[in-house]
């Protein structure tokens, strides 16, 4: 087993290819493009959660200095791709329903109702304060617990018989009912927000009546291009979306949000480029969130610790106008070898904005519940929680009855346990103290489905032997360009410094958005394939240059040269190949996608986390003091950046477990946590040393590079591991996140 750790980075990892521009402040994010005649927009948002607008008094704002327009449903331009109709009568799939400035209906507090466009930001901010909106209020429902009776099977699941969100059961329910040891528990996670450090921002530029360029913070330039082209009835190539640098997103940039449309509409209306930057408070109602979710887990096992059944029911929050679905209950079907397993998934529509995917969507939520419940059952069985998991290890996928494409979760458990020192753990809760603090340790498993989408990449060998590789993929932070450079350098046998990877522009070859941990599996494969194709061309062209290539040897490439065989001492430089053939450039474009293997194997990334916490017995304050995280994601492309992604996932999990809570004042249906002073995310002082380990064995069935996604499993399970550690430290089981001191004293 290739067990590498990067705690002391000494391998040959690449440092980030965009490191220099990021540390010097010269990387250009969406709000930072220099555009002549730029106007500034500020949103006015609703102050009621349900009802309709009765009047908008904008005269004073319009008369304020510098104001170009006050835009609302009263005067907004028509969006040609929106067929004329009322806002939807029933909940629609995400992305189709809400239309900004379309009609007077209000669906949630914080909904954009008007937008002021002015010459400067200061002018726009002031004028926005002068807009007076009056409403006809209706009674809103935002309280999850008070409305649970209204939860139901999502309409879109009712219509789709093959939906994975249909109720599921395998085996005999009696196995669970009659199990020797059973636990039943309810787990709650509150609404939590992505809150990337960069607020969402867009600069919309109509270069001509039928030509649009947007610099927009999003996670998929191609999908944004398609959606904007459709909305404005333009050919795709007439719309270009640029997002070269993105200041974090974690899911908040997967959709084209109403504010994006608003800026594009405004730019058309005022006939000037328009910049809109959301305020931090607007980030709570504009770009989705991890939905409030209540889950009930019933687990049963024999006295010897054999799982008899798993029943996982989950209800998530959605908006009144769209149905957001996520994988909340699905992991319970696949992770453990349980003859009986059943899941039920429901949605509860409330008068709130629509949730969206947030790092580890569904699984981070579901695995908090499942991994807490597994810990509860292990405790009831008086078994070590790790031993209990190993005893119920699924050697093949119990849901689909397929072999895993690869699974080294057992090695993850062993490696993590060894590095953490798990075997020395006292099983009894509240049995260890250190310096007056209660000390506890907990662990949890992690899993996330494998996603690979068709992707294209182009490779351009330049006359000087350098290479440009392009794909319309994204980098919201993991280091996409660095990983792709690494792949290209390896295949082509050239120094990474001679490679430039270009991304984040819709004019580049098709690629999926950055979500679902799909970038390395999808785009990494395309880059691998296109570089292989370029290599073949170079080898062929070199073969025409020298007799040595006719001896029947297997040509190889290294150090930017082609050799007729491994033994050949004299290589031909790439630059000389192009020169000889009088080529200014050598271009190859290739596509890579999944094949029949998707039906032959079950594909997942796996991992586990071991956490140590200290709890102050007087104040109930929890401190995470040590974390060991271990992942099985096939081949690791670049250790240095992968390790950072794993650390980032753990930090996100610390926030999810201990502090993140978007609290709403239900009298108004409004978040009271609307800034970083009230919505707490982990800071430096909250984060201990985090050890990261990888199994690093290629999964030969998933794609040509043997690599699976890492971003999601880095966070999935972390909250469960922390909750389990808190139980071990205190003897108190907290089933409602976040685990704040009030729940422990």
């Amino acid at each position: 087993m290739n067990r590498k750790s990067l705690d002391n980075p000494s391998d040959n990892s690449l440092s980030r290819v965009d490191g220099a521009v990021k540390v010097t402040g010269t990387a250009t994010y969406s709000a930072e493009y220099v555009v002549p005649e730029l106007a500034h927009a500020v949103l006015v948002t609703s102050t009621i959660a349900k009802g309709s607008i009765t009047a908008i008094e904008s005269q004073e704002a319009e008369a304020a200095p510098g104001v170009l327009a006050v835009i609302s449903h009263l005067n907004a331009i028509e969006v040609p791709g929106w067929p004329a109709r009322k806002q939807p009568a029933e909940r629609a799939p995400v992305g189709t329903a809400f239309r900004v400035f379309y009609d007077p209906l209000i669906y949630f507090d914080g909904q954009p109702v008007a937008m002021v466009v002015a010459g400067t930001r200061e002018q726009a901010v002031h004028a926005a304060s002068l807009v007076r909106v009056t409403y006809r209020k209706e009674i809103h429902q935002t309280h999850f617990e008070k409305n649970t009776s209204k939860a139901g099977i999502p309409l879109n699941v009712q219509r789709a018989k093959n939906s994975p969100f249909q109720d599921y059961a395998r085996g005999d329910a009696a196995a669970l009912t009659n199990a020797e040891v059973r636990i039943e528990a309810e787990y709650t996670i509150p609404t939590q927000h992505h809150q990337p450090l960069e607020p969402h921002a867009i600069i919309a530029v109509w270069e001509a009546d039928d030509k649009l360029t947007v610099y927009d913070k999003n996670q998929g330039v191609k999908s944004a291009q398609g959606q904007l082209a459709q909305a404005f009835k333009l050919p795709r190539e007439k719309v270009q979306v640029v997002a070269t640098y993105i200041g974090g997103a974690f899911g908040s940039g997967i959709r084209v949000w109403p504010h994006t449309m608003a800026a594009v509409m405004a730019a058309k209306q005022v006939k000037r480029p328009v910049k809109l930057v959301l305020g931090r408070e607007q980030m709570f109602t504009s770009v989705g969130y991890r939905p409030y979710t209540v889950q009930k887990l019933t687990l049963g096992a024999s006295k010897t610790g054999q799982l008899a059944g798993i029943m996982h029911e989950g209800t998530g929050q959605t908006s009144a106008y769209e149905e957001h679905l996520e994988r909340t209950v699905l992991a319970s079907r696949a992770l453990y070898a349980s003859a009986y397993a059943a899941t039920r998934y429901r949605l509860l529509p409330l008068d709130v904005n629509t949730p969206t995917w947030m790092r580890g969507p569904g699984d981070a939520t579901g695995m908090f519940a499942l991994e807490s419940a597994m810990d509860e059952l292990a405790f009831a069985l008086k078994m070590d929680p790790l031993e209990f998991r190993l005893k119920n290890y699924a050697e093949s996928d119990p849901e689909r009855n397929l072999p895993w494409s690869a699974k080294s979760l057992r090695e993850c458990y062993e490696l993590g346990a060894e590095k953490f020192g798990w075997k020395n753990r006292m099983q009894e809760p509240r049995s260890v103290k250190r310096g007056g603090m209660l000390l506890g340790s907990g662990m949890a498993s992690s899993l996330y489905g494998f996603h690979r989408h068709p992707s294209k990449a182009r490779a351009l060998m330049q006359a000087d032997g350098s290479v440009i590789v392009q794909s319309a993929t994204m980098d919201i932070g993991p280091g996409t360009g660095t990983a792709m450079t690494r792949i290209a350098a390896k295949v082509l046998g050239v120094n990474a410094k001679k490679i430039r990877f270009e991304l984040g522009h819709s004019a580049l070859p098709d690629a999926p958005g950055q979500n679902g941990s799909s970038t390395i599996p999808s785009v990494g494969s395309a880059v691998h394939v296109v570089c292989e194709a370029l290599k073949s061309k170079l080898v062929t062209l070199a073969g025409e240059m020298s007799e040595r290539f006719r001896s029947g040897g297997q040509p190889v490439v290294r150090n930017g040269q082609v050799f007729s065989s491994g033994e050949d001492k004299e290589g031909i430089n790439y630059s000389d190949i192009l020169k000889y053939h009088q080529l200014k450039e050598l271009e190859v474009t290739e596509e890579s996608k999944s094949g029949a293997e998707r039906d032959q194997y079950s594909m997942y990334s796996f991992g586990c986390h071991f956490v140590e916490v200290e709890v102050d017995p007087l104040t109930g304050e929890v401190r995470v003091t040590r974390v060991v995280t271990c992942a099985d994601v096939g081949t690791i492309i670049n250790y240095k950046t992968a390790r950072s992604q794993s650390i980032g996932g753990v930090v996100g999990g610390i926030g999810m477990a201990l502090m993140e809570h978007s609290a709403m004042d239900h009298r108004f249906g409004r978040y009271v946590t609307n800034d970083f002073a009230s919505y707490h995310i982990p800071v430096h002082a909250d984060v201990p040393p985090i050890e990261v380990y990888y199994i690093d064995k290629p999964d030969v069935h998933v794609n040509p590079i043997g690599s699976k996604g890492l971003g999601e499993i880095a966070i999935v399970g972390v909250a469960g591991a922390i909750a389990n550690a808190v139980f071990h430290a205190t003897g108190k089981r907290v089933r409602e996140l976040p685990i704040t001191p009030d729940k422990l004293i």
Binding site: T24, T120, F676, I690
Partner: protein
Amino acid sequence: MEPDRDAIPPDAENEDRRFFLKQSMFIAGLSMAPADFLQAALAPDDGPVGNAVKVKLSLTVNGKRKRITIDPRMTLLDLLRENLGLTGTKKGCDFGQCGACTVHVDGRRTLSCLTFAVMQHGAKITTIEGLSDGEKLHPLQEAFIKHDGFQCGYCTPGQIMSGVACIREGCAGSAGEVREYMSGNLCRCGAYPNIVDAILEVKKEGLKV
């Protein structure tokens, strides 16, 4: 600390200061003035921006003298980003809660979003763009790359500006001290342990920061 204003030629400085003081008193007076006086008093040159008058300002940014006329409602952060093209200083929250906008004003770390630009008359501002010596990166910038002290890069300029101050102010003695001191700089990607490693290494090497 007294601002070091040596970089500003004495004459220009006095001229700017006189203008600034005159104008400050003028604005203060306006708040009590009747509306029609307000209209009449505005000279065309200093015409209305929003419902305020423009203000002349002189300051030094990354060693370069800037003399500009601005909307007094403008924050130092917006001045840097929107008017001076220095977008390395980031707007994360605009409420002084995230640290992304940290710059050095007369050598002190300052949240530029909580500072009106007009308050910085005569001040010397250093932003992330002014930290490196031409092409040569500052040791902490180098260390951030080496230790991968960032992912998306958006909080990075603020982290580095605070990190430099952390070392200069003698607060980088241990990992615990750095973590405490740096806790005003949020990072949602969670690069914290790598940032701490970078700061500790630069401190340990004793390089001039």
